[in-house]
Subunit: 138 residues, 2 copies
């Protein structure tokens, strides 16, 4: 994907293609593989790898906007900070509680045997499965 594609993508979804948003698109979507990151990770990545100092507020704004448009997912763990995910397909995670590393689980590799009925009057929005892992202490 090239620059102009991002501009179109942004414009098509009603977001003005600003310099900051385009650069963030490059960082997030011009990659071979999808990945997980925190707001801070991204801010630093923009600075170092893209030579673009973007204010934290803008990083938050942009990620929330992208999330609303479905371009990224937000993953919340017990970890007091939240993670974003450029893999927007429906999938679950391993989470290394020692290193705070998130690892995708292939969709087909984990499935519920039975989905319980939600409490009366409520309906299911989505399901998060997190498998906490740790390094084998040799």
């Amino acid at each position: 994907m090239k620059n102009q594609d991002f501009i179109n993508k942004l414009r098509n979804s009603g977001l003005r293609p600003t310099k900051q948003r385009i650069k963030i698109c490059e960082a997030l979507f011009n990659t071979e593989k999808t990945f997980h990151f925190t707001v801070n990770d991204l801010a630093k990545m923009m600075q170092k790898n893209f030579n673009e100092k973007i204010s934290l507020a803008t990083v938050y704004n942009t990620l929330h906007a992208f999330k609303k448009k479905g371009y990224v997912k937000e993953i919340s763990l017990g970890n007091d900070k939240s993670y974003f995910d450029t893999n927007i397909s429906s999938h679950h995670h391993f989470f290394d509680t020692k290193t705070n590393e998130l690892i995708d689980i292939d969709s087909s590799k984990v499935e519920l045997k039975n989905i319980p009925n939600p409490p009366k009057g409520k309906s299911i929005k989505d399901i998060d499965i997190v498998i906490n892992v740790e390094n084998d202490s040799q």
Copy 2:
């Protein structure tokens, strides 16, 4: 359970039975049903229902101590604050994303069809399943 039982329970697990810990035991374990709560919930509950002003630091200390002893569980959601659970049996949750209400799912009602192999060198500690729900918008 009466007061003396809590004192023994605490002493047996190497925790000094202080006034604060005993009162918190009463609040948490002298109930018909198990329940979910935040640190703030508990601090307020102690004040109002038990006439016991316990400093926030102590509430944190006590909950972390109780967690380590296995008397409560901690549940982490995207919600920036964490929840504690007096239901220490292995179980999963519905989470109402609008009201921030946690609801137990009976252990038998949800089960994985297949547990994926953890990444090489890591082993599974535990699995958290959260089914996000919302009120039917009538």
